[in-house]
Amino acid sequence: MNGGQDLGGVHGLGPIDPEIDEPVFHAQWEKRAFALTLAMGFYGQWNIDQGRHARESMHPAKYMTSSYYQIWTEGLIKLMLDTGFVVPGEVHLGRQEVTPRDLHRDPVGADEVAAILAKGGPASRDLDTKPKFKTGSKVRAIRMNPDGHTRLPRYLRGCEGEIVAYHNGHVFPDTNAHGKGENPQHLYTVRFAARELWGADAPANDCMHADLWESYLVPA
């Protein structure tokens, strides 16, 4: 979706303003928002692409003026409302109003956390089709403007590049984010010359890379 999250090339957003000796968290609530998001994710009731889509669905004006843990908090609330973990009145009051979902398991305990984090959630999948492109292939990113989730940013659409790496099959976010299946596809790293993306003023020897699924690409 062409939402507030698709930021590559946007102007006027101000200085980067890095903080010296930045702490991991800036407030107690950030710690809790972070941990709640992970802990609720452990139930597997939504996938990483649904999580990203919940966050990017925020109004662009709000997205760009919220801190990242505020975006996470609102995303988590949306996911929990969508999946019936909570109802709006409960979120407002912070008190239970309806019976909890029966998840047939206890919440993850402190002693289980390390193993779950170590396991992670690999996105690679075996495919029995052959990749259409190989390293060195010239490709063009397609033009499209889906109102759902996609990982093809606007600044790359319609531009020509070259495959520089192949990563086997990976879960396809555009369907996975909408509960329409993993539909894994071949994934490639594509290099684009800075001048192809940004025009003649860009430095001749700079380039940008993105990891793109096969259906985002056509031969150039």
Partner: protein
Amino acid sequence: MAHDHDHDHHHHDGDHSELSETALRVKALESLLVEKGYVDPAALDELIETYETRVGPRNGAQVVAKAWTDAAFMEKLRSDATNAIADMGFIGRQGEHMVAVENTEDTHNMVVCTLCSCYPWPVLGLPPVWYKAPPYRSRAVSDPRGVLAEFGVQLPENVGVKVWDSTAEIRYLVIPQRPQGTEGWSADKLATLVTRNSMIGTGLALTPDQVAS
């Protein structure tokens, strides 16, 4: 800001009340999720402690220092970074598919996630605020040299900048150039030169002089 009433007053006040509102919202959320039996507060504490004290850029610094001192490891990092890094014990969430990109005399690498906040957690921990915020995400791809200047990094014109936008689940670790004057240093000593920003590509590794001062 109770101590003065300058023209910043309104601005700070606004920030403060907004943050309080968020803090209350998160507090209410945690109370609700504990009451409903969905989360165990001890598990939340464990998650926080993991990323505050155990998983952070010191991990990545060990990877870089090993790459600088162990040619066989550097080779493995080039061909299979995920397993090379896993062999050092850095595995799991947001590091399932790793790629290492090397800075050289004529190439400087810089990593961004324009679409969200993708970052290699097992080696760098959780990302800094600026990495997740709109200014960096917008300009890292369109004006990387301008971004580097804001971090105090000026590259010679002959050095090409390679930007890596983390659009899928591949996570990138920059291997900065080994500083001069570190011949014979142990991997542990070299790791003290490897900053978080040098592994994102918004900085360079420190020189021995910078560490000494």
